[in-house]
Symmetry: C2
Subunit: 243 residues, 2 copies
């Protein structure tokens, strides 16, 4: 993945700068660049909350400095006319596409966000390599600056879902085996068995059990078994230890 | 897609309620439900901006009312311990997964967002069908309420990229044919031709030209041809008309 830099071009409201710093840090980004920003005071720091470090380390520079220090320049624009006539702002890409387009780049990718009231002007857009637009509702397409940054950062974060251990194939097979034995115990007819086990496999299979959930189901089966025949409990527990 | 309702459980800051209404409307959602909210005054309406209608039509009701009027209840939680011990909050799904999980549902899907300082409590979480978590950076996982809502709404919006007409296979073949003829005209050696044309096809192919861009490239080639031999221009234009 490239180094991602968020560039605010002439932001007007310090609250938005603070909120932008916060949501950047939420997704692991810390390189904030400001071009001719408004005054940054208490409100910006209040909105930044625990991302005050991002705000403190934000650098202020010129548009030209951003161009010369970036390998790729991505300009963000609001939803625009679908006409193909706006060749300067076309074609545009949605945030999920941008992710794929830049993931192989070794270098700095600067993502430019324009003024709250005006966006990026044509001259700024002209110098961008890629245009990105967040698809919005035509009924109210004007998205707040920090919300736009949040969505782009969310898409580019590359933070995978926190891993929690799913039951392995072996553990699931063990569970199905246990269920099958339990069906024997409660006299489930063998001619229906394959269909019933398939149904159970479908349900548990698509729910992607965690190890803990599989273990809980074993426990519930054992509890039932114990109520039917107290001697079985020990046997099953021994069996589990062998897995 | 189901009807999506955004439910704020005991929100503390009216600014967040307003911002949430705005970002909901940005992605086409308007059903906002508030459970025991703070006072909603000028600041909320200022933040809502042109989504004041969403705020005005927000309904206030009890947690029980939300449960009885929803087909599916989705609880959102902050990033939590990766331990499998929190069975109540496990397994959780990321916003992109939620989209797939609910897209076939005919009915009301209520998405619950907890208090800014505390989230949803265990009793509330227990009653949810699905748990959703936005993956965030461990360095600063606490995301602002309206940013979280923005990301969920963005993922669930189902607003496709505005379509702009890409050049068809036939139009691209016509362009490559034109380029090949142009290489003849400028004396490009035939023994290098296949390699050069492959290189050109790679470049133009991966850039996914719009119709307009393809047409502009034809125009640039014609302009070059005219400079080399003014008689060729008419021929090519006639050729174009036949396509």
């Amino acid at each position: 993945m490239p180094h991602v830099r968020i560039v605010l071009v002439e932001p007007i409201y310090e609250g938005n700068i603070g909120f932008s710093a916060r949501v950047m840090k939420n997704f692991g980004f810390t390189d904030l660049v400001l071009i001719n920003p408004c005054k940054i005071g208490n409100e910006a720091y209040a909105r930044a909350s625990h991302a005050d470090d991002v705000l403190t380390h934000a650098t202020t520079c010129s548009f030209h400095d951003v161009i010369t220090s970036s390998h790729i320049l991505i300009g963000t624009t609001g939803e625009i006319s679908k006409s193909v006539c706006h060749s300067m702002r076309m074609p545009y890409f949605v945030p999920g596409e941008i992710r794929t387009m830049i993931e192989d780049i070794e270098g700095t990718v600067s993502i430019l966000f324009g003024r709250e009231n005006w966006g990026l002007n044509n001259e700024e857009i002209r110098q961008c390599d890629i245009i990105c637009t967040i698809p919005t509702s035509s009924k109210y397409p004007i998205i707040n600056l920090s919300h736009a940054i949040g969505i782009i950062c969310y898409e580019l974060a590359g933070i995978c879902r926190g891993e929690y251990p799913l039951a392995t194939r072996e553990e699931m097979d063990h569970l199905y085996h246990h269920i099958n034995e339990y069906l024997d115990l409660i006299g489930h007819p063998s001619f229906k068995r394959i269909m019933t086990m398939t149904l159970i496999r479908r349900i548990l299979g698509r729910s992607k059990l965690t190890i803990r959930e599989a273990s809980t189901l074993h426990g519930l089966l054992r509890r039932s078994e114990w109520h039917i025949d107290p001697n079985l409990e020990k046997f099953n527990r021994t069996n589990d230890r062998l897995i």
